[in-house]
Amino acid sequence: MFSQGYVRVMEIDLHEGRCRIHKREDLLENIGGSGLAAALYGEYGQPGEDAFAPEQPLIIAIGPLTGLFPLMSKAVLGFKSPYSGHYAETHAGGRLALAMRYANLDALVIKGEASHPVCLLLGEREFAVREGRHLWGMDTTMTARIIRSSEERGRGRRSILRIGPAGENLVKYACINVDTFRHFGRLGAGAVMGKKKLKAITILGEGSFSLPHGDYKKVYKKIYRKITTSGAMKKYHDLGTPVNILILNGLKALPTRNLSSTSFTGADSISGEYFAEKLLLRQIACSSCPVGCIHIGLLREKFAPEHEYYYRQVSYDHEPIFAMGSMLGVSLGEKVISLIDEAEKHGLDVISAGVALAWATEAYQKGLIGEKETLVPLAFGEAGSYRQALACLSGRVNDFYRLLGEGTLAAAARYGGSEFACTLGQEMAGYATGPAFFVSQAMGFRCSHLDTAGYQLDQEFDPCSVERALSYLLKEEKQRFILTSMVACLFARNIYTTEMLSEALEAAGLPHLALELETRAAALVKRRWQVKKSTGFDPLKVTIPPRFYQVETIRGKVNGEFIDALLKAYAGAIAAL
């Protein structure tokens, strides 16, 4: 535990089926989370090897404030992405971060490849490699159900990570499902798990630690009160992130039908307001978060001609709604939620899968591909076909879906249509706000509108100068890096100011870190870019596909020259690090 003067790392070798515990004082200088994961990749990673090489590690890290303060609810996974071939990060909430803290696991390094499908069971006093063959091929829901019923220990205090068929089949944007409703998404961490034949990881958070001395209780109560009384977090609980659907639509920044448009006539019936009124069952929270932003919607479907229905609970957010809604021209919340559910069960990243299918639909319309490739007729708005297409994508049933599972650009390289590919380093996120977002996602480490605040910058003002936009992106990147090293939920960014973090670190018994936070973060941001570059990333080679230059927002057509200038400036700044 960080506040006891060391970082406790569990190094797992799947090939041998053993683990080793390291107590490392020297790792403390990496803060935790994003900083720690990058440092461990620097140590255990094989930057020059293929992402699927057996020795490539999956690294999961928590931070110095995890388990001590509210909303320190996330864990960071660092790995070499099979999608991009570069070092990447993905973050998840749920029960994971606290389960790791109380299992006394500050970081996990998982290397090697099992000879047959296995599951891991980890805890403070537990390490076991268990049978996984009976779970192989199962969807994410069924897998967790079986694990829960076969292991009583840790109920309520454990976290269950698992992959679905998409991960087993090495789809390059397969995700890792964390506690049903959260994910390590986007850049293919699920495929790496699949390659390692690791179907699931259960972490039992059953340990306990003594409190830090001094002011801890006082600071803890103060922060808790600030979060629950300030009102600043209310919006995340109320409509949640889908509040953005109508906001972005109003700004003409909602990617629609493969970004051929930025406003969607069906926005009302996929909006946060529509979901809240018609489909919302309840909100739940990640462990230690009193806000509760996870919105659970009801999927109710008729399965027989008589009145027979089944129902399922599906979590929804802005991004999945954009990807399965406006981007695919699907204009009804009920249909969107059924598509999200389908992608979830397969363990596909919902955003990437939706954006890839949007490209496929346009390619189909333009005659570049036909039903021979897609097996179902793809048309914007046709949720039924998309549901089948998601299964084909996860199953990699033919050449076309196999390529599409490598990414939109891989399919476009074979069939044409790269000019309308909506990729920014990966399939785009749900903000067609303008240049700052495009550039920032194209460069970033993960789902990526979150690495910096490009989307916010676009919305706040028309960046008058490249310098101003660049300095904003760099400053925001550092601030977010500090938060994702703690590891805080980014929704708490206005609560955890630098002063508040310093106070919390001091109360946690880490006064040195409190003092040096800013300077250390600056050095670590640089190091993280270096790790990414060591895996072959060249910022100067990043390009933005033509479709983005045609985007029209409420401010008019985007300024292509500005995109190019900002891209060049940002790339230059990163290259210089």
Partner: protein, 154 residues
């Protein structure tokens, strides 16, 4: 009038664990999810909703009846007071509890028990928990059953 803990509206629970974390930190001086007098968990996967397991403030308190050393003594209104210095770590209290909410700490051997202090209530952001009047001597066993107290969302 003494008060006792009741989980009055678990339908509202978001599963944030703030109650458990608050109890562990402030009452039991521990960073953990386990050294807490209240335990929230899902009813079987996060889709099923949450339940709270906590001390029912029995009168008589079966744990206190079972305690051979006087470490557990009956509290007025229900539940118990606990004095660690008298405890010999025999675990009879935990075995006597009909709802199984006394945890015997694996490391120390000491029981972790709810003290009916209401700390958890102050940490619940959704009004799921409340301190209610203990049932009177004349009418035992009615606490929390006489309709939901009027609680406002905070």
């Amino acid at each position: 009038m003494p008060k006792i803990l009741r989980a009055i509206a678990m339908e509202r629970c978001i599963g944030c664990y703030s109650c458990m974390l608050g109890c562990a930190r402030l009452v039991h001086n521990s960073l953990s999810l386990i050294r807490s007098g209240i335990h929230v968990r899902s009813l079987g996967g996060l889709t099923a909703g949450f339940e709270a397991r906590y001390c029912l403030a029995c009168r008589p308190a079966f744990c206190a009846l079972a305690c051979p050393t006087g470490a557990f003594v009956q509290r007025e209104g229900g539940g118990v007071c606990y004095r660690e210095r008298l405890c010999i770590r025999c675990g009879h209290c935990a075995r006597a509890c009909p709802v199984n909410v006394i945890l015997v700490d694996e490391e120390t051997g000491f029981p972790v028990v709810c003290l009916q202090c209401g700390s958890c209530v102050n940490f619940c952001p959704h009004g799921c928990l409340a301190m209610v009047d203990a049932p009177s001597k004349e009418q035992p066993g009615t606490a929390g059953t006489a309709g939901e107290p009027d609680i406002k969302q905070r």
